[in-house]
Symmetry: C2
Subunit: 316 residues, 2 copies
């Protein structure tokens, strides 16, 4: 049985605060259709793909804040995307702000099968930023204020037999820089990691000299190396461009289990990238006797520091 | 106080089985002197730097096997290197096969201060290869036969005040591909990771199509990404070239805490690379509120799988 799935990364350009939900939905559906037209059976959309990246603002009115969150997935507003995907026979992953019936808030992604059923839900573990706004800054990063830490671990699910039954997992934005997150997926045999991100292209407050090229380099480096070290495919997809006055990097990539770039975005706008993901290629890294045959080579008894402390504890 | 240390990587070309210990010692001392002449105060030598990479052979005679091991460090045979380093006021790290008084065998590295005292001893945790030879193969990889798994964890030590008192650690060869190893150092605030390696440039038995360029790419990728994700300097140094009929990659690198290549070898022979390592540059990644401020952002309660299982457990 060949286990090759044609996968797309559907990079989004900016979604401005002034854009209507209907306009955004039309863009998402257009990207889905372009992906399907290029042969993709699974499409990865970015983090928080239905709205502007609202954690850049302090929003004190709960009713206003709620407008950025989805209550139920799917819901009426996003149903057209689910319907079009099902009609095309295409699965997808997408990130959104989740507001639960109990009033809990998470930065969440779902993986959806070609039949429209949700295969997997993941809630972002590595929330960057701060709880309290930094008064001197025009732009904030308030994910720690607007979301709880993900409480679902790092789940995986098998895709359908038609896709080659790959083990699939999800990471969200900053998670991709944390090797612990990748390893938790790798230890479940993950073969495709779907990642969405909104990453600043520069410090919008002017306090940090790192430019967009450096930040794309870091994003790509982390995905390439962690894909290699876990012998998995990875599809890492940006919301990009200048959004409500703050720049976001592009650089969406599809990376092979060998750590090589199979496809890469060249713009900071809506753009589809496509690659054929051969899941059997994961065996080059992880097969019996290979470098990343975890059962043969890992030494968990030496790793306890990873779970027994949080911060760094330098010697005296 | 500026915290800049000029560091060298002293790549070795092959050490053939027929080479004398005296000839090898002369090469090591020449590299040390070249490093010092270029301003280096600390020099990183490769793994198993005193001999050919003997785990490529099945050696059944214990007396013959013992000739590859050091009993005591320093010992009379290596004392000239220690003496010359002390005279130059240069510290170094070097890898060797360790045979303890109790008859235990490890793949070991020591970090040595400018005063000649051993700062730190590390025993390789991630031993590749197999215990039993593969009869069909002309060349073996028998590290699991000739060494016990390292039993010292991932220790760090502070370098001297003259060096800026950096937190220093060591990894050996295959360890550099394991993010758990890097993170155990990162959680101790490591600022300089000294790495030595002997890595095959191709499958000497012809069973695997990966070529040397791909293998250098993987080596460099793993070091760049793990240095970035732990906001540390890394000096990763090869024994390179065709050694006793089997090819070893070069590609020695010095990598900044930003994951950038600060210096890189261009040959597969004896070659010194040098860079100025500014330890305060680690703060760009790990300082308070930064991306890799571990205390603020890590979520160890989600990482338990890393220590509670060894091999991958895919879903049904």
């Amino acid at each position: 049985m060949t286990r090759i799935l044609t996968v797309a990364g559907a990079q989004l350009g900016p979604i401005q605060h002034a854009d209507t939900r209907a306009a955004t939905m039309a863009r998402l559906i257009a990207l889905l259709e372009q992906s399907a037209a290029r042969g993709a059976r699974f499409v990865v959309f970015p983090e928080l793909a239905f709205t502007t990246f609202f954690p850049r603002w302090l929003i004190e009115d709960t009713a206003e804040l709620d407008t950025y969150y989805e209550q139920g997935m799917p819901n009426a507003a996003v149903q057209p995307l689910f319907d079009r995907a099902k009609a095309l026979g295409v699965g997808f992953s997408i990130g959104f702000a989740e507001l639960t019936p109990e009033g809990r808030r998470f930065n969440t992604a779902v993986l959806v099968g070609a039949d429209g059923a949700i295969l997997l839900k993941y809630r972002k573990v590595h929330l960057p930023g701060s709880v309290e706004p930094r008064p001197q800054n025009r732009f904030q990063q308030l994910e720690k204020r607007y979301f709880e830490y993900g409480d679902l671990g790092f789940p995986v699910a098998r895709g359908s037999a038609e896709w080659g039954a790959p083990v699939m997992g999800s990471l969200i934005c900053n998670d991709r820089r944390w090797p612990e997150a990748w390893r938790c997926l790798g230890l479940q045999g993950v073969e495709l990691v779907a990642i969405g991100y909104n990453s600043a292209a520069y410090d919008p407050n002017g306090g940090d000299a790192e430019d967009g090229a450096r930040r794309v380099f870091h994003s790509t480096l982390a995905v390439q190396a962690n894909a290699y070290m876990n012998a998995t495919w990875a599809v890492s997809v940006a919301k990009a461009g200048v959004e409500d006055g703050a720049g976001l990097i592009g650089g969406s990539v599809i990376v092979s289990p060998d750590g090589l770039i199979a496809a890469q975005a060249t713009t900071e706008g809506d753009e589809v990238i496509v690659a054929d993901c051969d899941f059997d290629a994961c065996q080059q890294g992880r097969g019996p006797g290979k470098i990343f045959d975890f059962a043969a080579h890992r030494r968990p008894e030496q790793y306890r520091r990873i779970v027994e402390q949080t911060g760094a504890l330098p010697p005296a």
